[in-house]
C-alpha cells in the first residue's frame, strides 16, 4: 500500500529533526574548540575590553545612532510630506533625493561626504560626530521618508476629509489627525530602521575618527590589531547583540499586539 500524504509529511519532519541533531553533533566533534577559543574568545582579553567598550565605544555607537535617527526622522518626515504634496517640484525633488540616497551604498556616501567634500572644498567637518552622523542621517532619511509616506497613505482618506470639512487647514489636519494615526502604523518599521542604523554606524569606522569618537566596530578592529587576537571583535559583536535583540523583540511584541488588536 502507498504511504499516505500525512504519513509522508510526518516522516519528513522526523528526518529533519534527526539530520539537525547529527549536524550539531558533527560540529561539536569536528571543530577544534581549544584553538577556536584561544583565537576568538580569550577570557583575559574579554575582560580587558571593559569598561572602555561600554563607556566609550558603545556610547559612541549610540551617539551616532541617535544623531542619525533624529536627523533621518526629521528629514524623512519632510521628504514624505513633499512626496505627498500637490506641488510637483516638491514631489520631484523628494523622489530624486530618495532614489539617489537609497541607490548609493552608505559606505560610498560616507566616503564622499566625509572625505570627498572636504578635499574638494577645503571645508572641514566641525565635529567628528557630525562627520559620521550627517551622511548616516541623509541616507536614513531616504528610507524613513518611504516608511512614513506609506504610513500616512495607510490612514483612510475620510480622515483628512472629515478634518478639512471641520475647517482645519491641510497642515493642521496633518499634525492633529493624520500623523498621530500614521505614527501608530510606522513605529514598528521605524524601530527596525533604528536597529539597522545601530549596525550601519559600524561603517563610520572607515572615516578614521579620533580615539575618543571610535565606535564599537572600530574599537573591536583596533583591539584586534593590538592583541593579535579576534576576541575584541567577538565582544563587540556581543555588545551589538545586546543592543539590537531587545529592540527586535520589542518590534515583534508590537506586531503581535497590533495583530491581536485588529482581530
Amino acid at each position: 500500500m502507498a504511504i499516505s500524504k500525512r504519513k509522508k509529511a510526518q516522516y519528513r519532519r522526523i528526518t529533519v529533526y534527526v539530520l539537525s541533531v547529527i549536524a550539531l553533533l558533527a560540529m561539536v566533534l569536528v571543530v577544534d574548540w581549544g584553538r577556536l577559543q584561544s583565537a576568538m574568545f580569550q577570557w583575559d582579553i574579554v575582560v580587558e575590553q571593559f569598561p572602555d567598550i561600554l563607556t566609550s565605544a558603545a556610547k559612541n555607537t549610540i551617539i551616532f545612532t541617535i544623531l542619525g535617527f533624529a536627523g533621518g526622522l526629521s528629514f524623512g518626515l519632510l521628504f514624505a510630506l513633499m512626496r505627498l504634496s500637490t506641488i510637483r517640484p516638491y514631489r520631484w525633488f523628494a523622489a530624486t533625493y530618495i532614489e539617489i540616497f537609497r541607490g548609493i551604498p552608505l559606505l560610498v556616501t560616507l566616503l564622499i561626504l566625509g572625505f570627498g567634500i572636504p578635499i574638494a572644498t577645503g571645508w572641514r567637518w566641525p565635529n567628528p560626530y557630525l562627520q559620521g552622523a550627517v551622511p548616516l542621517a541623509l541616507v536614513a532619511s531616504a528610507y524613513m521618508a518611504e516608511t512614513i509616506r506609506a504610513g500616512i497613505e495607510a490612514v483612510p482618506k475620510g480622515q483628512m476629509e472629515a478634518a478639512r470639512s471641520l475647517g482645519m487647514s491641510y497642515s493642521r489636519a496633518m499634525i492633529t489627525i493624520i500623523i498621530p494615526q500614521a505614527l501608530r502604523i510606522i513605529v514598528p518599521p521605524l524601530t527596525n530602521e533604528f536597529v539597522l542604523l545601530i549596525k550601519d554606524t559600524s561603517l563610520i569606522s572607515v572615516l578614521g575618527v579620533t580615539a575618543g569618537t571610535r565606535d564599537l566596530a572600530r574599537f573591536g578592529r583596533d583591539g584586534v590589531n593590538h592583541t593579535a587576537n579576534a576576541t575584541p571583535l567577538i565582544v563587540a559583536g556581543l555588545v551589538y547583540l545586546a543592543m539590537t535583540v531587545p529592540l527586535t523583540q520589542l518590534v515583534a511584541w508590537m506586531e503581535r499586539r497590533e495583530k491581536a488588536a485588529s482581530r
Binding site: 483612510p156 480622515q159 476629509e161 478639512r164 471641520l166 475647517g167 489627525i177
Partner: protein, 247 residues
Amino acid sequence: MNSDVVVSITDLNKSFGDNHVLRGIDLQVQRGEVVCIIGPSGSGKSTLLRCVNMLETPTAGTVVVLGRELTDIDCDLDEARAHIGMVFQQFNLFPHMTALENVCVAQRKVLKRSEDEAATIAHGLLARVGLVEKDNAYPAQLSGGQQQRVAIARALAMNPDVMLFDEATSALDPELIGEVLQVMQSLAQEGMTMLVVTHEMGFAKGVADRVVFMDGGVIIEQGPPSQVISAPVEERTRAFLSSVLNH
C-alpha cells in the same frame, strides 16, 4: 443677493477624467430648508454634496454658500468650511480620540475656544444626540449608530449654518438607522438648513421641504415630497421610486 439663500449652485459641472459626473446643476437652498437629494447610485448626488464644501473641486460653475463664492480662487475655504457641517457615510470619526475629544478638537483648533468651553459644549451636544456617559468612549467602542451621532455632534459643535448629510445611514445596520434619522429629524425641526443625500424615502417624505431627484448628473425633477415622491411627473423618477419602494 437674497440673504435668506444659504446655498446657491449655478451651472455646476464636475468631471473625473472622461467621466462627466455633474452636467449643469442649478440649485438654491433657503435658510431653514431641508432638501433631500435622491437618485440611483452613480447619479452624482454625493459628488454634488461634496462640491458644496469643496471636498471636490468643480470643473465649472459656481458654488456660493452664505455669500462666499467658494469657487473663487480668493475664497478662504478653511474659513468657509467651518460654517458648513458635514456628516459622512463612513462616520470618519478620529479613532485616536474619545467621543468628547472628537467633538472638541475642531472647536479648539479652528474656533480657538478654551478647553473648558469646548468640553462643556461637546458634553451638551453629546447629550443632545442621546449619548450620555459616552464622553470617554473611543469610536471603536461605539456602535455604528452611536458613532454617527458623535459625528453629528462633532459637526454641530462648529455652529454651522448648513449641514450636509452624505448617505449618513447607508453604512448602518437596519436596527441602528432609526436613532440617527431621529437626530436628523429633530435638527430639521429646530430649523437647521440641511442638504441630505439619502436612500431613506420615509425620511425624505416625512422631513424634507423639497426633494430633488437626480439621474445621470442632472436634476430630473424637484419639488415638495408630496409631488416628487408621491406623484412624480418624470418617467425616470417613477422608475427609480418603484424600484426602491418595492423592496
